[in-house]
């Protein structure tokens, strides 16, 4: 048996699996999105009708706005994660322990995190409000019930959940930088800030670009914590695109529309990935060694 056939054979199981659970459903979703369908009865073909509705659907665009806001916060918080990773990689005392502590949220299931934060945010018995009352704030807000703050209250656990993941990636990338570069810079009289800015950052830039895409796309299709903690409420104040799609498909039994939303979401994610790749395309890849 030739080598090529061998490779094909090894790839086959994974290929079949990914076809069956990713690509075929995407094609089906696109197909359903062109129909009026309640999930059970007959389908009627309506062409791009759902997409026309979608363009004028205020509830959808408000959820899209929330998703974008989450994406912006996720990407901005990467800066913080990178700084933390740099500090940890600088062989400070207990770096190993901190790295593990930061990673713990990543190991918990989303539902467990949601339960945890529901207790933190509980309007009367929650840790947060108990603390606020004890330091003399009489009427602390009900975090998950105020339309104006619920979204930000949700962002905190979402960012917290993934912090460890990005810190770990950055940490590994930073550890890959040969120490000889840093030593050489020190001999040339560079201070810590200059080393970080001029040597470390350029060398991990490729990794940073990947994490930007991960964070942006991951935020756009985010669902778990929001679904469990607020279910998009109150009054849709914390609705994101994925939860809106779920509500349309599974609550309002409008599978055609739900499919159209999820296909549109896919298009948005692809577009965002493409734009980010374009924007961050390296003019010249930096290599010091």
């Amino acid at each position: 048996m030739s080598n090529k056939k061998m490779i094909a054979l090894y790839v086959l199981p994974a290929l079949l699996l990914i076809l069956a659970i990713v690509y075929i459903p995407i094609v089906l979703t696109a197909f359903y999105g062109l129909h009026e369908w309640n999930g059970i009865g007959a389908m009627t073909f309506i062409g791009l009708g759902h997409y026309k509705t979608l363009m004028q659907d205020k509830a959808f665009w408000s959820s899209a706005g929330h998703s974008c806001l989450l994406a912006i916060f996720s990407v901005l918080s990467l800066i913080l994660y990178l700084i933390v990773a740099m500090v940890l990689a600088a062989r400070i005392k207990g770096a190993n322990l901190f790295r593990k502590i930061y990673l713990i949220p990543m190991l918990l299931s989303s539902v467990a995190i949601a339960q945890l934060w529901l207790r933190v945010y509980h309007p009367t018995n929650g840790i947060l409000n108990s603390l606020l009352v004890s330091i003399g704030i009489d009427n602390p807000p009900a975090w998950l019930a105020e339309p104006s703050i619920v979204l930000y209250a949700l962002f905190i656990p979402i960012l917290w959940q993934y912090a460890g993941f990005y810190i770990l990636i950055y940490y590994a990338a930073l550890k890959n930088i040969p120490s000889s570069l840093e030593e050489a810079a020190k001999i040339d009289g560079a201070n810590a800030l200059q080393i970080a800015w001029k040597i470390k950052l350029p060398l991990v830039m490729e990794v940073v670009k990947v994490t930007i895409v991960l964070a942006a796309v991951g935020s756009l299709k985010y669902f778990d914590l929001i679904f469990v903690m607020t279910d998009g409420g109150p009054n849709g104040a914390s609705e994101v695109m994925a939860s809106y799609m779920y509500h349309e498909a599974f609550r309002a039994y409008d599978f055609g529309y739900g499919s159209a939303i999820s296909f549109f979401l896919l298009v948005i994610c692809l577009l965002v990935t493409w734009v980010i790749r374009k924007l961050t395309a390296a003019k010249d890849t930096i290599q010091y060694s």
């Binding site: 048996m1 061998m6 054979l9 090894y10 086959l12 199981p13 079949l16 699996l17 069956a20 309640n38 999930g39 059970i40 009865g41 007959a42 529901l118 945010y121 509980h122 309007p123 009367t124 009900a142 975090w143 998950l144 019930a145 105020e146 339309p147 619920v150 607020t230 279910d231 409420g233 109150p234 009054n235 849709g236 509500h247 599974f250 609550r251 309002a252 039994y253 409008d254 599978f255």
Partner: protein
């Protein structure tokens, strides 16, 4: 050479394994649904697939009864095997939907009434059960229960439970603050004011779940505009823009303004709100009779609390058209038989048997109120249960939960509007208009 062949075989086997695993479940399902055809003394051997939503952990009482009934049925009909599939509430709903769309429904399953039923009936997936109603079960159901499962004059499922929603209250808190059970809405508002002035949360409400707030709106609508106006608006023959119904929506917001509900109610789930009531932190809780076991027999809740729970009927509003004996409620779940079942006749017989046995056993075993008539006088039951049971028999009318009765899309709008109304994100007028718009869309 040997090594390479070995790896090739392994890779192939893995691939095949995946393909087979994918098909496995489907095959098993089809085999089980088919009667095996061998003629035994007891007739054809049949397997009835039965999907329900009472897992052992969450609904221990119901789970035990289901098993008892199935065992008894199998003993009486040795040729019949009943295969159970048990799922949790929300998962059950989703799976039923998926099975429905792929035309793979179990022979017998659990369904909700009215709006939930509609798509399945439109898709011709459920079979009419009217012949059972005129047979042995004739006259066995509490009046008004089977109607909720009827579409275009045919009944597509037989109800198991029946619920009404009283206002439960904590007698201890009422006594400590010198409060009496209210007869009128004015008195009720006075109670709310007294409690909230003293820093006690008057009402536990978990409006993240939305249907919980809908109960409050429905009662106010019923008491102000009268049962008929409310029922007509929900069914679509009337309108939510009726003066009385708009006034009810205004009254909801007035209650919110007077701090009647627990803090952050729009962000709390029903379970969280319930625990406020169970912990004695809120004085009142409007909820269905399915909660009765928690206030009567559930040993996990302290006896001192259970003894201090009472209930009252939603008070009448001065100048309103409502009647104090009019309730909001409705059948919980019912049993359907799949139209495409290969063992339809046997499945129907099983449903008939199940409904008959369920009535009596569910009262004592699970503390729920069954949809079939049961003589409770000979049973040893908690007083709270008996009182509510009697109230139900005196009911002048029972309005089905709005979100159950409306079609799925309209129900979703109703629930979203309820949360917005309580959160004061819409005006009562806008609340009414949105309802009209959603209901007129007809899906």
């Amino acid at each position: 050479m040997f090594k390479r062949k070995w790896t090739t075989t392994m890779a192939l086997a893995l691939t095949l394994g995946l393909v087979l695993a994918g098909c496995g479940k489907n095959d098993a399902g089809q085999n089980a649904a088919e009667p095996s055809g061998s003629k035994d003394a007891g007739g054809d051997k049949v397997t009835i697939q039965f999907m329900h939503l009472w897992p052992e952990g969450v609904s221990a009482g119901q789970n035990k009864i289901v098993n008892q009934i199935i065992e008894a049925y199998q003993n009486e009909h040795p040729n019949v095997t009943i295969k159970q599939e048990v799922l949790d509430n929300e998962q059950y709903k989703n799976k039923l939907k998926v099975l429905g769309s792929s035309n793979n429904l179990p022979d017998v399953g659990v369904t909700w009434a009215a709006g939930f039923l509609q798509p399945y009936v439109d898709g011709k997936l459920f079979t009419p059960l009217d012949d059972l109603l005129t047979g042995e079960l004739n006259g066995k159901f509490v009046a008004g229960t089977t109607e909720a499962y009827a579409i275009n004059g045919k009944t597509y499922a037989l109800p198991l439970e029946f619920n009404i929603a009283p206002v439960y209250y904590n007698k201890t808190i009422f006594e400590q603050n010198g409060l009496q059970v209210p007869q009128t809405y004015e008195q009720f508002k006075q109670i709310v004011k007294t409690l909230s002035d003293k820093g006690i949360a008057p009402i536990a409400l978990g409006n993240k779940d939305r249907w919980t707030g809908s109960l409050w709106y429905m009662y106010l609508a019923d008491r102000i505009a009268g049962q008929k106006v409310l029922a007509d608006a929900i069914s679509g023959s009337g309108s939510f823009e009726d003066e009385g119904l708009v006034k009810a929506a205004k009254e909801v917001q007035a209650l919110v303004d007077s701090n009647a509900f627990v803090k952050g109610f729009n962000g709390l789930s029903n379970e969280e709100a319930k625990s406020e009531f169970l912990n004695g932190k809120a004085a009142m809780y409007l909820m269905g009779t399915w909660e009765l076991p928690n206030f009567t027999t559930n040993e996990e809740i302290p006896k001192s609390f259970r003894d201090s729970v009472g209930f009252f009927k939603f008070p009448t509003v001065e100048g309103g058209k409502g009647d104090i004996n009019s309730w909001v409620g409705g059948p919980g779940v019912g049993l359907f038989v799949s139209e495409n079942s290969k063992v339809k006749e046997e499945a129907k017989k099983f449903v008939e048997y199940f409904v008959t046995k369920w009535g009596e056993q569910s009262v004592t075993g699970a503390g729920v109120i069954p949809a079939t008539k049961v003589d409770t006088s000979t049973m040893d039951l908690p007083q709270l249960y008996i009182d509510l049971f009697n109230e139900m028999n005196k009911a002048s009318s029972i309005t089905l939960f709005a979100d159950v009765q409306m079609k799925p899309n309209a129900a979703e709008t109703h629930l979203n509007m309820i949360q917005a109304l309580f959160g004061k994100a819409v005006t009562p007028e806008k609340f009414a208009q949105e309802h009209t718009a959603a209901i007129s869309k007809g899906n």
